[in-house]
């Protein structure tokens, strides 16, 4: 048929799994908050095992100024545009959490040497939409929405920036924030006309660092929100209480027919599973509860701090991290109500289980990760956020961040740290930097959504 099968991405998750293996990674690296007066940058990492520069940073795209704190990013197009031959997955949108700038990076002209195509100035975003603190980037068809955690003065709940495919500001995406207190991550599942969003805190609360007492003063989130995606307004709140303190990353299964999704509650170190019931309302349950661990120097046991969460493209495995404990876990979620632990590895962390991995002293713990489309290679980085790093892992200032790769057994379950791969951001030319989120040019497990 005319117009079909020519756009970006893949016709289905199963087609995505069969795509060629990734050869390049784009990973953000920061100097903000490190004491090194250099811009944050987008690192191109060679992940082709046949290449001579395998496991090395082969290019660094510096941002124009200092102080952005690059953090998360997203593509201009994904499989939700697969039927649109006028679209291509060409541009990475890279927001600066602190500067409010959004950098549109062209990765197609020369994939190894991406370049900045356009800058959406933070001041323009504030003036036109009263938003600051950008976080998650998703495309919806040929348009783009980006969650922001605050208003122009850094107060919650923020909202959503709406861009067209030429990266022009259309305004606010949502028609209402309802009674939402905080914003953070979001994901949508068009066949159920649903979006789900989670809660971190106001930029003025989380940006300076983490004060535990502010959780008790209700300055941090503990709710998930179900949205009517077409009407762009929240319709149901799920109050998670003590089970869901600081609910961060939220994902639906990749199967576009499924209504099952998961959220990692960072401070409670729980996985929350949610789904649509037969009568159309949404329910949730806690399916994984990571115990706090005792530490000789701590007056209270250490919480895991489950700061991220990822579902494999075949929807068989759920991956979680415990940033303060230092472990990555793999669960079989064939039955989403009853996950089964199938793999675990250790890197860094405060429990001292794996202080040195592949010859590198790990400052920090497993924090952000990206999984290959076939589910076999997981790339993990160690820095969370500059100010929070400085509180929990002050040695990261001199050691920098690290990227490791985990070989994942997709058939029988299991994880093993690959001994041939390590990118030590402590050895960067301008001094130790900290690596965070990664994306692959051909799509990955946190980018693609199917209509």
């Amino acid at each position: 048929m005319e117009g079909l099968c020519c756009g970006p991405g893949y016709a289905s998750p199963s087609e995505a799994i069969r795509a060629p293996s990734e050869k390049l990674l784009y990973t953000i690296a920061i100097y903000t908050g490190t004491g090194i007066q250099k811009p944050d940058y987008l690192a191109t990492i060679d992940v082709d095992p046949k290449s001579e520069s395998y496991s090395k940073v082969i290019h660094r795209l510096e941002m124009p100024g200092i102080g952005d704190e690059l953090h998360h990013m997203g593509w201009n197009a994904c499989s939700s545009c697969h039927d649109d031959k006028s679209m291509s997955r060409r541009y990475l949108l890279v927001p600066g959490v602190r500067s409010n700038n959004i950098y549109v990076v062209d990765t197609a002209t020369n994939p190894k040497v991406p370049r900045i195509q356009k800058i959406i100035q933070g001041t323009e975003i504030k003036t036109k939409t009263n938003l600051s603190g950008p976080h998650t980037v998703h495309c919806l068809g040929s348009e783009i929405i980006i969650s922001f955690l605050g208003d122009a003065k850094g107060e919650a709940p923020g909202g959503y920036l709406h861009l067209n495919k030429d990266f022009e500001i259309l305004g606010r995406w949502e028609s209402s924030m309802g009674d939402i207190l905080f914003s953070y991550d979001f994901w949508y599942q068009p066949r159920h006309n649903v979006m789900v969003s989670s809660e971190w805190a106001a930029p003025n609360t989380f940006m300076p660092g983490f004060d535990l007492e502010e959780v008790g003063h209700l300055k941090y989130g503990r709710r998930l929100h179900i949205w009517d995606f077409e009407k762009k307004r929240p319709i149901q709140t799920m109050y998670l209480g003590e089970d869901g303190l600081i609910p961060l990353e939220v994902k639906f299964l990749h199967n576009p027919n499924s209504s099952h999704g998961f959220c990692g509650a960072a401070l409670s170190a729980n996985v929350i599973h949610f789904w649509k019931t037969k009568n159309g309302s949404w329910e949730w349950e806690k399916i994984i509860d990571i115990d706090n661990e005792p530490h000789p120097d701590w007056p209270i046991p250490i919480p895991g701090v489950m700061s991220a969460l990822l579902v494999s493209m075949d929807d068989k495995y759920l991956y979680i991290n415990n940033w303060l404990h230092g472990d990555m876990r793999q669960y079989n979620i064939t039955d989403p109500h009853n996950p089964v632990l199938t793999g675990q590895v250790w890197m860094g962390g405060l429990l001292g289980k794996a202080p040195i991995v592949n010859g590198v002293k790990i400052a920090g713990g497993p924090q952000m990760y990206q999984l290959s489309l076939d589910g076999k290679r997981m790339y993990v980085t160690t820095s969370l956020f500059s100010t929070w790093d400085n509180q929990f892992y002050p040695e990261i200032r001199t050691n920098g961040g690290v990227m490791l790769m985990i070989d994942c057994d997709v058939k029988n379950g299991g994880m093993k740290i690959n001994e041939d791969f390590v990118v030590n951001f402590g050895n960067e030319p301008n001094g130790p930097s900290r690596c965070h989120e990664s994306r692959y040019p051909g799509g990955d497990c946190t980018s693609d959504i199917w209509l």
């Binding site: 850094g154 502010e214 100010t387």
Partner: protein
């Protein structure tokens, strides 16, 4: 004019007017300072005030313990008198603390949620 001394930069001195945020004034004089949000909310530009007075009423990033330890958010703080600072991450020794090992007392929280300090009568 106010004289600004940067103690941990060999006591370098600069003259500022005091009518603009110190970050702007010092950067325009060639001082290389870290910064992020530029509205007083993110702590990246924090410096430690050793001597002098500033007006930083519009900052929202510091808790009361950090203020009591002398921290100043340069992107919004204006000099009221001659001041001496330590700048950059070398001055951040008390800015960051593990919140589980070293919790804040109620009066040490940020201004909007802090309780007044109890005065004990001996």
């Amino acid at each position: 004019m106010k004289k600004i001394t940067i103690a941990n930069r060999n006591n370098a001195t600069y003259e500022v007017k005091g009518n603009k945020p110190l970050l702007l004034e010092l950067c325009s004089l060639g001082v290389d300072l870290p910064y992020g949000c530029q509205y007083g909310g993110c702590i990246t530009c924090a410096a430690k005030l050793i001597k002098g007075k500033v007006d930083q009423k519009s900052q929202v990033a510091l808790n009361n313990r950090q203020i009591n330890d002398g921290y100043v958010i340069l992107c919004v703080a204006r000099a009221k008198t001659d001041c001496t600072f330590d700048i950059g991450v070398e001055s951040h020794d008390k800015l960051y603390r593990n919140p589980f090992i070293d919790p804040l007392a109620p009066h040490e929280l940020k201004a909007d949620i802090a309780s007044f300090r109890e005065i004990k009568n001996d």
